[in-house]
């Protein structure tokens, strides 16, 4: 992995993921489960849990890099637009820093909807386990 490397993927929050997240973490806030409530708050439908994107980030770090010897040190994510069920998301991550002294790699990433609007972005720092 070198600075400037770019990784791309596509994700979709389908019903299985949505139901599974609620079953696992029990967040049934009406914004995520009540169509009328969500629409009354100005959203077009129920809004997917932002932390589901954290699951996609976990998959990216754990499964999509050239090495499996990885551990997440830190991550930050900012949500800029809501995500709805079955929306196709484009994911792009770029290596912005390599810190050989401590075997760490830093990425910036963003998720975009199918109209190229950024829906979330942030940074992740990982360690390469020796």
């Amino acid at each position: 992995m070198t600075k400037g490397d770019i990784f791309e993927n596509e994700f979709k929050i389908n019903k299985n993921i949505y139901d599974g997240f609620i079953k696992l973490f029990n967040d049934k806030n009406p914004l995520h489960t009540d169509e009328v409530f969500a629409q009354n708050k100005g959203f077009k439908s129920i809004v997917m849990h932002g932390n589901i994107l954290g699951g996609f980030l976990s998959y990216f770090i754990g499964e999509c890099l050239p090495t499996k010897n990885v551990i997440i040190h830190s991550q930050e994510i900012k949500y800029t637009k809501p995500v709805y069920i079955n929306e196709l998301l484009s994911f792009k991550a770029e290596i912005i820093g390599i810190y050989k002294s401590v075997n760490a790699v830093e990425f910036k990433f963003c998720f975009e909807d199918n109209e190229s609007n950024t829906i979330a972005k942030g940074k992740i720092q990982i360690g390469i386990i020796q």
Partner: protein, 84 residues
């Protein structure tokens, strides 16, 4: 070397980075400070500290250089050498 103005200036900035990364506004590191003196300075926060320091000063240490630093002051001397 320990008391020169440049070292003190670097230690002050490094202290700000320590406060930020370790989320401890009361923290005050000095030349002789080591990881055993700071509760929050564990193996993971060490990595976060080194990354934050390398980013701020726009330098790169090697793993060997990091291992050889015995305390904060020696690391700050390393920063001075790298930023000359």
């Amino acid at each position: 070397m320990k008391n020169n103005e440049k070292i003190l200036e670097i230690i002050k900035k490094v202290n700000d980075i320590f406060k930020d990364v370790l989320e401890n506004d009361e923290l005050s590191v000095i030349y002789e400070t080591t990881a055993s003196d700071v509760d929050e300075w564990d193996s993971l926060s060490h990595i976060l500290l080194v990354v934050a320091i390398e980013k701020y000063f726009q330098i790169e240490f090697t793993a060997k250089e990091m291992q050889n630093f015995k305390n904060v002051g020696e690391m700050c001397e390393g920063i001075i050498l790298k930023t000359k």
